[in-house]
Symmetry: D2
Subunit: 310 residues, 4 copies
């Protein structure tokens, strides 16, 4: 099985776009392994590091990629099944970044208040789960690994790996996990898949801006749906079909997600559009994936049990 | 057991405020019954009604109340435990209201596109569940009843029963259900509890703007937490402590909810504030309660299993 | 000429609604005088006052009213011409309120950063203008007085005088000034006019949340446009017709304002709707009235010189 | 004088980034001419064109560039003085694009309503001004040309020319006009200046999404401020210093603009930070530049007459 490693530091992907040379090539149907650095490029190994030396924008959240998918052409859909995610370090990193997060001033929501103080936590990982803080008497947190960031290249833009969008990217959606299939738009030849930002687990909304960040080795299987154009990422598991919207303000992210989900129910599952809208109002589920990134991400989910029976 | 009925039409509560005469009085610790009309004042019983004759703002979403709670004073907290909710009609009403909902132009998000067409659905309710549409071959939807609207009086304002806010109100949060306790701020003498807007169940976000609307008879037990000032509603069940934020844009609703939840973890559960912020980023859950009302509502939830052990 | 004084403190209007007794009555066509307290009820006369003793929500921004307009009925429009505004104190008050303003955390945009420190400025007013700070060598600021707050009663709600909305209210729009006519919806008998919140002048957006606040005596002439239903306030001066939208997020305020302005151009001035939309994109002007209040206010302006000639 | 022409169609700039080869090089202090196509690449010359054939994302709003500025290094500021803008066509183009604009559903604010119909207007330009519509009896509109789009390259991203941002871009700010100096951040060697999107004039907010679009030939003088790092674009004319913020929701754009303006007053003009905040609340002016693009743009302006005298 092919094992794709992160490139040397100077070649790490900090944007998703059509401009870098592919670091690997895969065939549709191929199962392969891929390793990722954590969101801080594995540079944090102590709690007393000055974060401003590690977090120098735009060099945050390095992805492994672009991975060229043979035969992928604009207008196709890339289906990425996540077969496995292994954590490759025995601790995760979390931190308070002074002008980043959901409950503080940021470069977008500018305020005159003093920034928060930085803080770094290292969370030991054992077979029984993740220890939030050895000094706090709380149960271990289960390991539920997923990729915070997965996406393909836009047509002409090179988008920061810190941003989610119609191309996928930094959605921080815990549904990008083992067993699930992620559908991504193909806008350029070869699709150019990027992924990274492994999370041990995550609270909905990722409210402080950082999850327990960890390097990983994953096993993926890619496939192509030829001639199927996607407008925004979709995800599927045994229980739900899901559409992801990323935008600001957050209601616009929810609108994109539901609009796409309703369109999916209409196009593939035989629902009339407004009927699907009304049914979603009764049975849909919503995940707030992030309220901290360049754009906020919302996952709208429709339970498969309410799909029309043939 | 006292049974509080909705007042005659001319006295229905269309606002939550300090100005109406109480329709009933209860004692702290008292268990009582209360009946509510549906959000359309039970006026829709056919699918060919002209909605514009039924929905004449501000006369939508009538609540039963104010219910005066003896001994409640400003600065107290009102705890409302929901013991039971019975549906008192064998069908629920849903509709598409032309300029209301999450995926259309509204009086707030004004657009020049033509409004959607109205549509009314009547959903038969049986012991096995709710039938979305007899013409569609999908499973019955389980009955999971809750109050879309529950709140107390602000100090000086009289707020439309269509709006959620710091006082509770039209949150459309499915956590306001049987078995759960809702904590509401007391801003005036007697607290003045209002409730209504029974829902058979609801999708997260209530995306089309309407749930399966139904009249109800509920059984509630109220209690007072003297001298405990709340800033926004809280909810508790066996699994979670929850704070509700209502605001626009939606991220501000999420900020209010998480800020309050973190303050709660700090004040009552021994967490240091920033530690709670970081832990929420790992284990919190979020419900998008509504993305359609005057303000959007978000429920931030902290799993009780991660509370510090004494 | 009738001179309407603010009522005693206990009767000051902190909400605009149908519940208080009128403090005065005027006839359509009548010119009268009205005096207003400043937004802090004239309680700040030194820079070392503890603001938390003065600003005790919801008792901020007292208005003079309700003024009952004889003959006003729901569905009419109230036209208020401002003939004069006299400042009745030789200094204005400005302050930094720790959790209020455009560039800080607030009760709506909740953050964990430490609040700003309070600060009070008293600005001497002379015939040549207002002195921002005697210690800073900058020119006097011209006196351009206007009412930050003017509105009528909603049908059933009692809305805080701190909030703007479809009824007018705390718009903080500098176009509510001498020589201009303000059009307000009539939702209840007698219209019930409220006004207050005199400003010596104001920067667009009122960014710190407070303008130079001052008590006033104004001269107004009211008139009725019978049977003309307004959806949101309008303003007219020699140069522009203007519509005011108040909402969050700010783009929704702008949408309301432009939607109404385009509807006005269509209904009264013979423009086809989409033609007006396109023309606004070429000649309209926009004022950001406030970015600090319960809702943000935007004034969309169409230059009269581009109205169709008859 | 060097005259920089738009490159052949296949090399037009649809993104601002570090990846394309420069099409020209200029020296600091150099005055040069530059020609630009209109936002539709000059492809619209009749009102009956099918817009969907012309507007094929992302190939809209082509810019002329990158122009390499000798000696520019990351951390410098590029000062671009606009000496002249000549319109190079005798008509301007405006249109209604079905899912684009301020008062309709868009790809970000997704709705289920039917899209607006397309509409194209061609506006004749004469020496006396622009004719909005020969069939409407309204005065000619004065020629007040400016660049809707001007910006430099980010460090690693390639941002669509349809988007504004910290790098400048598609701000649609009418202050980018003759006589004014635009300050832009330099993030990469050579700065890489891009510009285009000439507008004959524009209403604040560019509400329908399109201004009167026109090709131009401008005369510019560029200069470098070495070692001066900018966070967002700034503009200066005789009357104002101005900061531009671009974000969604619109209040965040305003926050960025005011935060930067206050920082500028503090760093260069001797104001204490909170004093500047309070003074802005009294004398600042705000332009809503656009409410239609990928991000909304706000210009916060401080009148030079209130700068501290030395």
């Amino acid at each position: 099985m092919q094992h794709i490693m992160p490139p040397p530091t100077k070649d790490l992907a900090w944007v998703m776009g059509p401009y870098q040379a592919p670091i690997a090539r895969v065939e549709p149907g191929e199962t392969f392994q891929v390793s990722t650095l954590d969101a801080f490029a594995n540079r944090i190994d102590a709690t007393d590091i000055d974060l401003s030396t590690v977090i120098q924008l735009p060099y945050v959240n390095p992805c492994t990629g672009p991975i060229y998918v043979e035969g992928a052409e604009p207008g196709d859909t890339l289906a990425v099944r996540i077969d496995d995610i292994k954590l490759t370090r025995d601790y995760a990193v979390s931190c308070i970044i002074p002008e980043f997060g959901g409950l503080c001033g940021t470069v977008y929501t500018r305020i005159l208040n003093e920034p928060l103080d930085q803080r770094i936590l290292l969370h030991p990982i054992t077979d029984e789960g993740m220890i939030h803080d050895p000094n706090l008497n709380i149960p271990k947190i289960p390991i539920e690994p997923f990729y915070g960031t997965i996406g393909t290249s836009p047509t002409t833009e090179a988008i920061s790996t810190l941003s989610p969008g119609f191309h996928g990217g930094n959605m921080d959606a815990a549904d990008v996990c083992v067993g699930n299939t992620i559908y991504l738009p193909v806008a350029v030849e070869g699709a150019r898949l990027f992924l990274g930002d492994g999370h041990v687990t995550q609270g909905d909304a990722e409210v402080c801006g950082v999850a327990p960040e960890v390097p990983t080795t994953g096993t993926l299987t890619v496939d192509l749906i030829k001639g199927r154009r996607l407008e925004t990422p979709r995800i599927e598991d045994d229980e739900y079909i899901m559409s992801v919207g990323s935008a600001r303000p957050m209601e616009d992210a929810a609108r994109i997600a539901f609009y796409d989900l309703i369109g999916w129910l209409e196009a593939d599952y035989g629902f009339e559009r407004i009927a699907a809208y009304q049914l979603c109002s009764q049975v849909a589920r919503v995940r707030v994936a992030n309220m901290v990134d360049v754009l906020y991400s919302i996952v709208a989910k429709f339970p498969k049990r309410y799909l029309l029976e043939a």
